[in-house]
């Protein structure tokens, strides 16, 4: 015998199944939308990067506010540890200071000699450098990307291609400059490729990031002599970075490739210095740079 549904029961059952249909539909809809965006990102990367810069620029004050207590906490911890190690640190610094005074004397005499030799050769000096200090507000330390967001943008004079350094050495370069914030691609990122030279042997290679803490040297000459501890500097090839910026130290070598330990502790950076070497190859988009230069005239 067919069961006749009461009116209210019928309404509830229909409502539930209707909701299920809507839910299923929205799930499939958003899934397809996400896939569509991925495809769009692949075919129009510049469009997507611009949109991303806008979003991060808008979020910069929020990220800054969130980062402040963290920086403060780190500062307090560092001060406390420093205080505890005052005695031993003091002794170490005294010893280091004596050594540094010797180095300073050496540097001064070399500088004089250099100046004299340059005047003899009529040597053209390096272009003027511009420094911008910035604080790190976000660190995309996921397994797929290695980059930082810092609190300085076009308003402060940041432009794409500037080198990012800490006191220890090169950490990466600016690849996106928003109005108030910019993004630094670290030397450990999968997309980072930096022409370097190994001090001592003078061999050239490419320092390639692989999203792991230790980037690798690629395209080393077959007869390259690598000793662990050798310093790795930028070679200046390609015109993005000037030569002789310290990058890292050779850690291990095997089968024509070597791992490099970056000089800067990349996982704990709070402050960076962005340096404009005024090199033509630094900007990503030479046409945009030219338009910019024309506008300034």
């Amino acid at each position: 015998m067919p069961v006749r549904l009461h009116r209210t029961e019928w309404v509830t059952t229909t409502a539930i199944s209707w909701r299920q249909v809507v839910h299923r539909f929205s799930f499939v809809f958003f899934l397809l939308l996400a896939v569509g965006l991925l495809v769009l990102g692949r075919s129009h990367p510049i469009l997507i990067e611009h949109a991303r810069t806008r979003v991060i620029d808008t979020l910069a004050p929020v990220l800054d506010a969130l980062a402040r207590p963290m920086t403060l906490a780190e500062d307090v911890t560092r001060r406390a540890t420093n205080y505890l190690q005052l005695q031993s640190q003091n002794e170490k610094l005294r010893a280091e200071n004596t050594q540094l005074v010797q180095w300073q004397n050496a540097a001064l005499s070399l500088e004089n000699e250099n100046k004299e030799l340059r005047s003899l050769l009529n040597y053209k000096t390096e272009p003027h450098l511009t420094y911008i200090s910035a604080r790190v507000i976000a660190d995309a330390g996921g397994p797929f990307v290695r980059s930082l967001v810092v609190t300085a943008g076009k308003v402060d004079g940041v432009r794409e291609g500037m080198a990012a350094m800490t006191g220890e050495g090169l950490i990466g370069r600016v690849i996106e400059a928003g109005d108030w914030s910019s993004r630094i691609l670290l030397i450990t990122d999968l997309n980072s490729r930096i022409p370097v030279t190994i001090s001592g042997s003078g061999d050239h290679a490419i320092l390639a990031g692989n999203n792991a803490p230790l980037p690798k040297l690629l395209y080393l000459p077959q007869d390259a002599l690598l000793t662990p501890g050798a310093r790795v500097m930028t070679s200046g090839h390609g015109g993005v970075f000037p030569p002789n910026l310290p990058v890292g130290v050779v850690t291990s070598t095997s089968h024509g490739t070597a791992e490099i330990t970056p000089l800067a502790a990349l996982e704990r950076i709070n402050q960076v210095r962005l340096i404009d070497f005024n090199l033509a190859g630094g900007a990503f988009n030479p046409i945009a740079a030219r338009i910019d230069a024309d506008a300034r005239k």
Partner: protein, 171 residues
């Protein structure tokens, strides 16, 4: 008696808790933490929030919100746009389909469930990203991030449980 305007506003604010906490977790995930030894690795706090709210308050955590939060995660983490959105929506749907199992379970079950879903999500993300870049991405960092997130799960989950009890039990 009809609620006053103030009461209605307060109730709406309470109902924004799942969205607000997930947003905060996403942003907190990219801030530089003063914890050494993690080696530049940050836990996926956002995924913890998506998992938690999909189980406990799916009525206040709709697919549109999940999708937008995913897009934001892509933006701040420099991931291809749509990747986290895809992962978040998939996790949301997966959890919803198993919701009956999760609701009212003891904490250890909630944790184990998360561990499983986190692993699936990370492997899925790794596969999609490898396909996107047309080359295999390193797998070890993926495993590290998944493990780190699973290990710290109780802490953010505890915060969410407390917040849910104090803010949403009255709303």
């Amino acid at each position: 008696m009809l609620p006053t305007l103030g009461q209605r506003l307060e109730q709406s604010a309470r109902r924004l808790l799942p969205l607000g906490t997930t947003l905060l977790f996403l942003l907190a995930g990219v801030v530089v933490w003063p914890i050494p030894y993690i080696g530049g690795m940050t836990p996926s706090l956002g995924l913890i929030a998506v998992y938690y709210w999909s189980i406990h308050r799916p009525d206040l955590f709709r697919p549109l919100a999940v999708f937008l939060l995913g897009l934001l995660n892509d933006a701040v983490n420099f991931l291809p746009p749509g990747l986290s959105a895809l992962v978040f929506i998939a996790v949301h749907q997966l959890v919803l389909s198993q919701r009956r199992f999760f609701v009212g379970q003891v904490f250890s079950m909630l944790w184990s469930g998360f561990a499983l879903i986190m692993l699936i999500a990370m492997i899925f993300q790794w596969l999609v990203l490898s396909a996107y870049n047309a080359s295999w991405m390193a797998f070890l960092p993926v495993l590290l991030q998944a493990s780190l997130t699973i290990v710290i799960f109780p802490l953010p989950a505890w915060v969410l449980i407390r917040l849910q009890r104090s803010v949403l039990s009255q709303g």
